[in-house]
């Protein structure tokens, strides 16, 4: 065998966070796909609005449960930031468990308010196009609350049952990133459906 110069990579670490990690790019790409989805629904909302002289055509939707839900979503973010911060060097499993449970519980409560929100809407999806798009936007975001909430639950189970591996620190951070995304779109969804017709244009 002919001798060749070499680069020895055996001493390189086996874990990296943020854009250094391939998985970060996977999750970021998925969030880009989801953002496009949400944006298209928002575009559809405005497109349909352009066809109506009166918007919303059937009176403003009640804002109560939605505001409570939004408040809860925002409240769930600081504990998630605690989980995010803890999952790195010097991680403490107990601290991660505690804050993740807190954030998850508040998030699931927010999901409960989303379900209540549907109950309060004075129109159904099959009443008019406005009803269709509102149900679609709230439903789409509701599914994300459900899926992300389920993912939080999964990580709580993992942190208790184990085996917890080094690479799960990265997973926990990306899980937090997904949760921030869901909350951010919760804010936009709220603005679109409640502020646009009710507050910003009155």
């Amino acid at each position: 065998m002919r001798p060749r110069p070499r680069i020895d990579v055996a001493s390189l670490p086996t874990l990296a966070f943020g854009p250094r990690a391939p998985l970060w790019w996977g999750v970021a790409s998925m969030l880009a796909i989801e953002t496009t989805m949400f944006a298209l629904l928002a575009v559809t909302y405005f497109y349909l609005r352009g066809n109506e002289s009166l918007w919303p055509p059937a009176g403003d939707p009640p804002v109560g449960p939605a505001t409570a839900g939004l408040f809860l979503m925002l409240l769930s973010v600081p504990p998630m930031i605690m989980v995010h911060r803890e999952s790195g060097k010097g991680h403490r499993l107990k601290v991660m468990r505690f804050w993740l449970i807190v954030s998850m519980a508040i998030g699931l409560l927010a999901l409960g308010f989303r379900i209540a929100e549907f109950g309060e809407l004075p129109f159904r999806w099959d009443h008019h196009a406005y009803g269709s798009i509102v149900w679609a936007i709230l439903g789409m975001h509701g599914i994300h609350l459900l899926v992300s909430g389920g993912e939080n639950l999964l990580f709580v189970a993992l942190l208790f049952k184990g085996p917890v591996e080094e690479k799960h620190l990265l997973d926990l951070r990306l899980n937090a990133m997904y949760w921030y995304f869901v909350v951010a779109w919760g804010i936009v969804t709220y603005a679109l459906i409640y502020l646009d017709p009710g507050v910003l244009r009155s």
């Binding site: 055996a10 670490p13 391939p22 496009t36 917890v164 080094e166």
Partner: protein
């Protein structure tokens, strides 16, 4: 890059390492092993074969249409069957052939071209293929049960809405679209992560092969375009299944909304098919002129700008719907502007061919055929960008001729060239050049005989998607010519297929590098070992096989007792860290079946949706839950 001391393994140590790598990366046998396969090469091989099966089916549908139109008032097919056949043909070629085949070739070649042992998310590839197969199976299952979709590949509302298309046909179409787009999205995400993070040390972005650049641009286009058609088809399904009113003008909905959502995907889609083909052309031109492609930077910038401009053209499919003047001007300008980057690339290839000594092997012939056909298609494209002309020939055979010139010329010809070029790498055997040349010339001749007359038919006023026409129209002769051309073209493609099948078994052995190619894929054996590279290569040139000496460093220190890969930095590809990839898994199949049950179920009952979410959730937990052979545990454990 730190270069340590010289690497002098003993012969025994080297053989032992190869043995261990084989053991670690090998495929498992049996049905379970086959279903749980995660090797990018094997999944991509299945993907390519599947896509060509759909290509043949779509081609047979095309032949049926040509037989029907060969003479006036033919009674071969009734209008209902004809509607199904042209819808199947369009949907098959766009959703089940063109996009998947490009993704599949990329899935096979990209890791080899960037010097990686695998793709970033091996199980996601498997999931992508299963989704694709379920989607394609659903479409053809429905067709053979006489519930094939019949509203065209773009399924305009209100024709496809609940009022005018009762029954399940359009629902099936909508779910097939959702499925195949899901498959494409999964593959695109995987490509982005792989290309960004798995490139061999030294392969900075500015040294990346042009084909890899084209796949990167395509992947980003998929991410921003495909959600649009998924949203559109989901809203259509909701209108049809639970009586929403998105596209129902009587209740505040809007039919044109469908066209906007569809074409915001549909136009980028054309470039999603075409841009990988550009990468293939660059690869082949370089290999058969033995010159690096002229104007690398201009080529890359053209690919990227095509990707951007491709999102600004969708409304030119809607000129006939009555648009504001400003909108017409904007989209006309954008449609003409896209000719600039394409032109830049054509000139760069001509410059490369001019300065080199081209060897007219079949792959290069297919590329030259591409240049000829695509330039004609591009010219009619510039014509169609002008609103007055577009309104005149809208929905006629002129448009059919135009898009077959750009799609077959722009994508299928480069693809056939690329398959010819990479076939030896994939199978270890060469295709017959003589048969290859015959198949090229016959296909080329047949193609032009089929589609050139359609320009004239279109200008003559023959609308597309009519199942027959009267003799007095005078369209009979040119239609007969087109049908004859289609037979010639089919013969050429059949020869190609015969070449592939017979060479796969009896072809001459190719060796590692039969063409003297420039890229890293030619540095490994043909077919490549399961682990691709025993020692990852390093790169200091755009043409590593041509310009790097035997003193180019190799990477050592990756473990061979587990599926360990090297992660490098995004811009300069300096080594950054190592990571371990998952083994074979059944979870992708489980999740694909769960999503399949959901999407097919909702056609029949809305309850399939909540049930589907639950079973998909369970399957996903199975995917993500850590296996027992955990490594690198945190010190503190519950």
């Amino acid at each position: 890059m730190r270069v340590a001391e010289r690497y002098e393994p003993t012969v025994e140590a080297d053989a032992e390492e190869a043995r261990q790598l084989r053991e670690t990366w090998k495929s498992r046998g049996g049905l379970i092993g086959w279903l749980g396969e995660t090797d990018h090469k094997k999944i991509a091989g299945r993907y390519i074969v599947t896509a060509f099966v759909f290509f043949v089916l779509g081609g047979l549908e095309a032949a049926l249409m040509r037989f029907q139109l060969a003479r006036p008032e033919s009674g071969l097919m009734g209008p209902d069957l004809y509607n199904q056949v042209f819808t199947m043909h369009g949907s098959t070629m766009m959703f089940l052939f063109a996009v998947p085949i490009m993704e599949a070739v990329a899935m096979y070649m990209v890791p080899l071209m960037i010097g990686a042992r695998a793709m970033a998310f091996p199980r996601l590839n498997a999931y992508s293929w299963y989704c694709y197969v379920i989607g394609g199976g659903l479409l053809y299952g429905a067709f053979f049960l006489n519930v094939g979709p019949d509203t065209g590949w773009f399924s305009y509302v209100p024709l496809s809405g609940p009022e005018f298309a009762p029954g399940k046909r359009v629902d099936i179409w909508a779910q097939v679209v959702t499925f195949t787009e899901l498959a494409a999205l999964a593959a695109a995400v995987n490509q982005i992560a792989t290309i960004f993070k798995y490139r061999a040390p030294g392969m900075s972005l500015s040294r990346m092969p042009l084909f890899v650049w084209s796949i990167l641009v395509t992947a980003f286009m998929i991410i921003f375009a495909m959600p649009s058609v998924m949203a559109a088809s989901s809203l259509l399904a909701l209108d049809r299944l639970v009586a929403t009113h998105f596209f129902n003008p009587a209740e505040g909905g809007d039919a044109l909304l469908w066209q906007h959502l569809f074409w915001f995907f549909g136009h980028p889609e054309v470039y999603i098919i075409f841009i990988p083909a550009l990468g293939m052309v660059s690869t082949i031109v370089a290999a058969f002129t033995r010159r690096k492609v002229f104007g690398y930077t201009a080529m890359v910038l053209s690919l990227v700008s095509t990707g951007f401009i491709g999102f600004g053209l969708w409304v030119h499919h809607m000129f006939a719907t009555g648009l504001p003047q400003l909108g017409q001007s904007f989209f006309t300008a954008a449609s003409m502007m896209i000719a600039i980057p394409s032109g830049v690339q054509i000139f760069c290839w001509i410059a490369t061919l001019w300065s080199g000594r081209p060897r007219l092997a079949p792959p290069l012939l297919f590329v030259l055929g591409f240049v000829f056909i695509f330039v004609i298609g591009g010219l009619t494209g510039v014509m169609l960008a002008s609103v007055p002309l577009d309104v005149q020939v809208h929905d006629t055979f002129f448009v059919v001729a135009h898009f077959h010139y750009v799609l077959i010329g722009g994508a299928v010809f480069p693809l056939l060239g690329a398959i010819f070029y990479w076939f030896p790498k994939m199978t270890g055997r060469l295709l017959s050049e003589r048969l290859g040349k015959w198949s090229f010339w016959i296909t080329f001749l047949g193609f032009n005989l089929t589609f050139f007359p359609m320009h004239i038919l279109g200008l003559d006023g023959m609308p597309r998607r009519i199942y027959t026409y009267r003799a007095e129209t005078g369209w009979g002769d040119l239609n007969l010519l087109a049908t004859a051309g289609a037979l010639v073209m089919a013969l050429g493609l059949l020869l190609y297929l015969i070449n592939v099948v017979s060479s796969w078994r009896h072809g001459a052995w190719a060796g590692d590098d039969p063409w003297g190619g420039e890229g890293l894929e030619w540095s490994v054996s043909s077919p490549p070992p399961d682990y691709n590279f025993q020692h990852l290569p390093t790169v200091r040139s755009r043409a590593p096989m041509w310009e790097q000496g035997p003193d180019q460093p190799v990477v050592v220190g990756l473990r061979s007792d587990r599926r360990e890969v090297l992660v490098t930095r995004l811009i300069d590809a300096e080594p950054d860290h190592r990571e371990t990839l998952p083994d074979h898994a059944m979870s992708p199949l489980a999740v694909a079946i769960a999503t399949g049950v959901t999407f097919v179920g909702v056609i029949f009952t809305p309850w399939a949706f909540p049930i589907g979410i639950i079973i998909t959730g369970i399957a996903l937990i199975g995917w993500f839950w850590p296996r027992d052979e955990s490594r690198e545990l945190l010190e503190e454990q519950p």
